[in-house]
Symmetry: C2
Subunit: 171 residues, 2 copies
Amino acid sequence: MYKKGLVFWLTGLPCSGKTTISKKLKKYLKNKSESVQRLDGDILRKTISKDLGFSKKDRIKNIHRVAYLAKILADNGVNVIVALISPYQKSRDFARKVCPNFIEIYVKCSIEECKRRDIKGMYEKALKGKIIDFTGVQDSYEEPQNPEITIDTEKLSTEDDLKIIINYLKK
Amino acid sequence: MYKKGLVFWLTGLPCSGKTTISKKLKKYLKNKSESVQRLDGDILRKTISKDLGFSKKDRIKNIHRVAYLAKILADNGVNVIVALISPYQKSRDFARKVCPNFIEIYVKCSIEECKRRDIKGMYEKALKGKIIDFTGVQDSYEEPQNPEITIDTEKLSTEDDLKIIINYLKK
């Protein structure tokens, strides 16, 4: 029998640093010869979720779909790193129920800092109404209530954030 | 690096024997200590494709979604066995393009025999118009043009069908 993989579920505001951390974590696990699949919101929306928009209903559908996908991978011994805004507590709880070895990682960053980092100008566009249903502007982000890990990308470097995750794994 | 998995794509009419063969093949591969995931149409429609119906448009969406799922699994070294009516050549060709190591298996069986096997009475319901968009009744099934393997579940036993697949793998 195959050991089940871990599901690292990175949640946070747009531009909080989810993708950056997920890539670093993937590299770390690959170096340990672990099987790893990164599931990034931006990429999934071009494939398995390409029929979905950004309304609350569609976001929930997307989170559920990614959860099922993560579960199938983890069931086959693949470690999964999800990088998805996943703004709703209820949807993240759904993912937790579906996935084995679920590790919720709150990628914390103030909205002011997220806006500063936003090279694509998405926050600005949302504030002007050119993008709708944008998390942090029109749509709310519900902070995780009991995440396994919180990493503060505003106060710490990416290296230090990664160390926090690695320390959690060692425990 | 992980070796990519194979994608066995079983296509055929409802009740042609896809699920039966897929379970046998899974057992065979498991006994060889291979990592295997079965993706069965009936199960997927309760999870990753639960928002989809059976119209041509939705069927195409479903096939695409399953193809992406199979690809991610195979990329991680998992052998995937898809058991899905997948009635359209164009959609199967899409799956072939997306998935590495794609093996199209045509599960061949006459519609008369499929009807005889249909314990749920789906063909009968479709003929009476109680089920719509049913493959083989209202919706057409396009026979594979160049499948890697054809197995005839009407003429051969499940054991013999499995042997055909195994022989193909040995080549």
